[in-house]
Structure formats: structure tokens, C-alpha cells
Amino acid sequence: MEKKPVNRKIVIAVWVIGVFLVWEFAAFAIRHILPIDTPDTKLPYFHGVVITFFQNFMDLAASSWVTFINAGRGFLIGTAIGCVIAFLMSWSKAIEKIAFPYLITFQMIPVLGLAPIVYKLVGGGDEAKVAISALISFFPVAVNLLDGFHSVDVQRRELLYSYATKKPITYLKLMIPSALPQLFTGMKIAAPRTITAAILIEMMGSTAGIGVKILYALYYNGAGSLLFWSCILAAAILGMLSSVVVSLVERIVIPWEKAMLKKGEA
């Protein structure tokens, strides 16, 4: 292990190029080496997808923005509600005892299955996307933040208790700062899911958003069209972007956590 450490950025770059080459070769293979039926619907050339992506960039970006902003609004609402619930449960033992089994149960339920019902209730407008995004991000945030509150060092709590520190101060000075990393863990789980949720509502029938673009491309250009694939690419980028944004915010809000992790790894 004491060999020269390779820069992680180089590793990632090599992998990205590798995936690109594998994709291109596979696309070549199903056309010329082992020809299959309708290769365009299975795997188009990646460079073709990228070119189409940039040709339609403004269009795709505008649609993605609609999806992103609605998912983001739902995400913020869901995160806020999740924080309040976790906070109440940590504050009052009675509330925790009543609500905890339900919180755990809801985690086991495929909540996105509710999407058609939400769609039926409020239609395919922005409200539906915000509602389902909020619903989906609420549970991971609440569960993880509560977990963070639970794992605060007991000795530290007892120290503050022995100083007769008031409960609000204890939360402000100890509980909330210590639980922040867990909050971000929950948010990182939730963020890509809200994008999935928003796209799902859009694909069920809506007027704007990347999900609508995917459907249109399927109907008018077919599953083998490069436009369809570049819409998918945009959706994938959107999902990754959402978790990158949360990571960036995390690095700004709790810079010490990253530093500690690096120390631990070394």
C-alpha cells in the first residue's frame, strides 16, 4: 500500500474514459461484429448521444430546470418537515414512542407507489411534483437526523445537564451541531429520489419537465432516436447533480467533518 498514491482525479478520469470506450465498442459490436435487430434502440453510439445532447442543449436545460426546481422545492419542504419531526421525537420521549414504529414502517414501504394516487388527486402540475418530492424526502431525513440525535455522546449530554443547561441551549450548542452530519446523510439519500419522483409524475402526464421530454421523444422520434437517449442522459445528469449539490452544501455547512474523515482515512 505504500506505493505511489495515484491522484483520485486521475483515477476517475481513467474510469470515465474507460466507460466511454466500452460503450462505444459495445455499440460498434452490435452493429458490425455480432449484428442484432434494431441496434439503435439497444445502444446508440455514445458520441452521437452527446452531440444530440448539445444540439438540443437549451431545450433540455430548460426542461431539466423545471424538473429540478420542483423537485428542489419538494425536497426543501420535505427536509424541513423531516427535521421538525426528528426534532420533536428527540425532544419528547412520548412523541418518539408513538411515532417511531410508524417512521420505521414507512421506510419499508415503496412510497413512490403512491405517485399515481397523488397524480390522481392533484394532477400533473407543479403541486404534484412538489408534493411527491416532499413525501419521498421526508422519511430518510427524519430517520437519519433522529439517528444523529440518538448517537450524541451521552457523557457530553450529561456534562451539560450537570451544568443545569437549559434544554434549548443544549440543542443549540450540542445536539444540533453533532447531528448535522447525519442530517446530510439523510439529505443525500433523499435528493436523487426527489428527481425520480418528479420525473415519474411528469411521465404520467404533465406539461413541462424532462419527464415530458422523454415521453415526447419516445412518441415522436421513437425509442431508437438519439433525442430519446439524450433526454435520458439529461435525466441521469440531473440525478447526479442533485447529490452533488447536497455534498457541496454539506462541505460549506460542516467543513470540519470532511477534514476529520480525511484524517481518519490516512
Partner: protein, 260 residues
């Protein structure tokens, strides 16, 4: 920290959620939710209507539940094995394997709704495409979780193994592998839900059987209570799968209880 002691009693811990649940269902049954959320009776079925669907259509419900559960389970098993393999390879080659893990994180962030149409192109409208979607997402979650277990080791344990002049293989089998068993279960708890969810989402688009397909089609026919019954089925399957994982976890990681 002396709290009022009645809250800590076991009786309260069990009774309180049950009483709350019963009150909630009664509130719902007698129109409280409709009144609170301004819903019309037609849009939002009552508990008795949903139970009625279970009583009259259990055969159809069962048939579609089995289809979705099979897709989820087969995908979960294949995906977990693949994901674990990726994590092992990544930890075996720490320098370059890291990139594979980044790839897994990227896959994990892809919306299921974007993956489903591609898999439908690849494997048709049957169960195969749904299983493929499940494989992708369970694989990613499993790889990310177990990689942590394989690489984040107790302090100094790796130094100790090295001071014994342990080979890479020995370190893997007597340190990394046991250390990652709890992470496997953490991952499984996440992926059981993920697998059901991915299967259902994949079924929403282009399929002719399964819970996701049925939810969509009965809602379009305006049978809202039926839709809720199918949702309830998916929830029940999710809960059962989660519970099986929890029970196995408790049996397998008994030795680990002190650490958790």
C-alpha cells in the same frame, strides 16, 4: 436524566403506537381526513372500502403481488451478489478500484424513471426488464455500503495484521470480510425497499402485469379503492422482506452485538 417513568414502561411503548394507529384509522373512516385535506369522497377511499377490495379480489391481488415480488426478489439477489463483488474488487485494488465505486454512486443517482425505458428497450415488456432495473439499483446500493464495511476498519486493526506479516488474502478473510457483515445487512435493509420500488416504477411504464401496472390501470378506470389495495400489497411485501432481513441479521451478527 430522570424522565417521568411511565413513558419508559414497556406497556406504553407497545400500546401508544397501536392506540394512535387505531385513532388515526377511525379519524380517516369517519371523514376526518377528507375534511382536513378538502378531499372529495370519490377521490380518497375509506379504510372499509379498501378492506372490501381485499375481501372480494384477493385472488387478483395475490397474482400481481407475486409477480412484482418475484421481480424484486430475483433482482435483489443478483444485484446484491454483483454489488458485493464490485465492493470486494474495489477494496482489493484500492487505488484504481475507487473509480468503480464512483461509477456505482453515479448509477445510484440516476433516476429509476430514466433507467426503466432503456431496460424496456433491452429486455422487452416482460419481467426481464423489471428484474434488470432492480439489479442496477440494488447493485449500486450494495456496493457503496459494503465498500465502507470492507475499508473502514477498527483503528489499528490493519496495522496489527500487517505487523503479523499477514498476506492480503488473510487480511481480507479474517479482518475485512467479518468487518463488513453488518454493512451487508444495512445495505439489504435499504435494498429490500429499493427493489420493490424499482420493480413497481418499471411496471408503471409498459408492462402488462404486476402491482405497478395494476395501480395505474385501476386508477385510470376510476377504481380508487382498488389502487389503494395494490399499494397496501406493495407495502406489506416491503415490510415482510425488511423483517426477514432483520431476523436473519439478529441471528448472524450476534457476535457483533457489542460493537453495535
Amino acid at each position: 436524566m430522570n424522565k417521568s417513568s411511565w413513558i419508559d414502561k414497556k406497556g406504553f411503548r407497545i400500546a401508544a403506537p397501536i392506540v394512535f394507529g387505531i385513532l388515526f384509522v377511525l379519524f380517516w373512516q369517519f371523514g376526518g381526513l377528507h375534511w382536513l385535506l378538502h378531499l372529495r369522497a370519490y377521490d380518497f377511499p375509506l379504510p372499509t372500502q379498501i378492506i372490501d377490495v381485499f375481501a372480494t379480489q384477493y385472488a387478483v391481488l395475490w397474482k400481481h403481488t407475486v409477480i412484482t415480488a418475484t421481480e424484486a426478489l430475483v433482482g435483489l439477489i443478483i444485484g446484491s451478489v454483483l454489488g458485493f463483488g464490485v465492493a470486494v474488487l474495489a477494496s482489493w485494488f484500492p487505488q484504481w478500484g475507487y473509480g468503480g465505486l464512483a461509477l456505482m454512486s453515479a448509477i445510484n443517482a440516476i433516476p429509476t424513471t430514466a433507467m426503466a425505458p432503456i431496460m424496456n428497450n433491452w429486455f422487452g415488456r416482460g419481467m426481464g426488464s423489471k428484474i434488470a432495473v432492480v439489479i442496477f439499483f440494488t447493485m449500486a446500493a450494495m456496493a457503496i455500503n459494503t465498500y465502507r464495511g470492507l475499508t473502514v476498519l477498527p483503528p489499528f486493526s490493519l496495522d496489527l495484521m500487517k505487523s503479523y506479516n499477514a498476506t492480503k488474502k488473510e487480511i481480507f478473510f479474517s479482518l475485512r470480510l467479518p468487518n463488513c457483515v453488518p454493512s451487508i445487512f444495512t445495505a439489504l435493509k435499504v435494498t429490500t425497499t429499493t427493489s420493490m420500488l424499482s420493480a413497481i416504477i418499471a411496471e408503471f411504464f409498459s408492462s402488462y402485469a404486476g402491482l405497478g401496472f395494476r395501480v395505474n390501470s385501476v386508477l385510470q378506470e376510476g377504481k380508487n379503492a382498488d389502487g389503494w389495495a395494490y399499494i397496501a400489497c406493495s407495502a406489506i411485501v416491503g415490510i415482510i422482506m425488511y423483517m426477514i432481513v432483520s431476523v436473519v441479521e439478529r441471528r448472524v451478527t450476534k457476535w457483533h452485538a457489542s460493537q453495535r
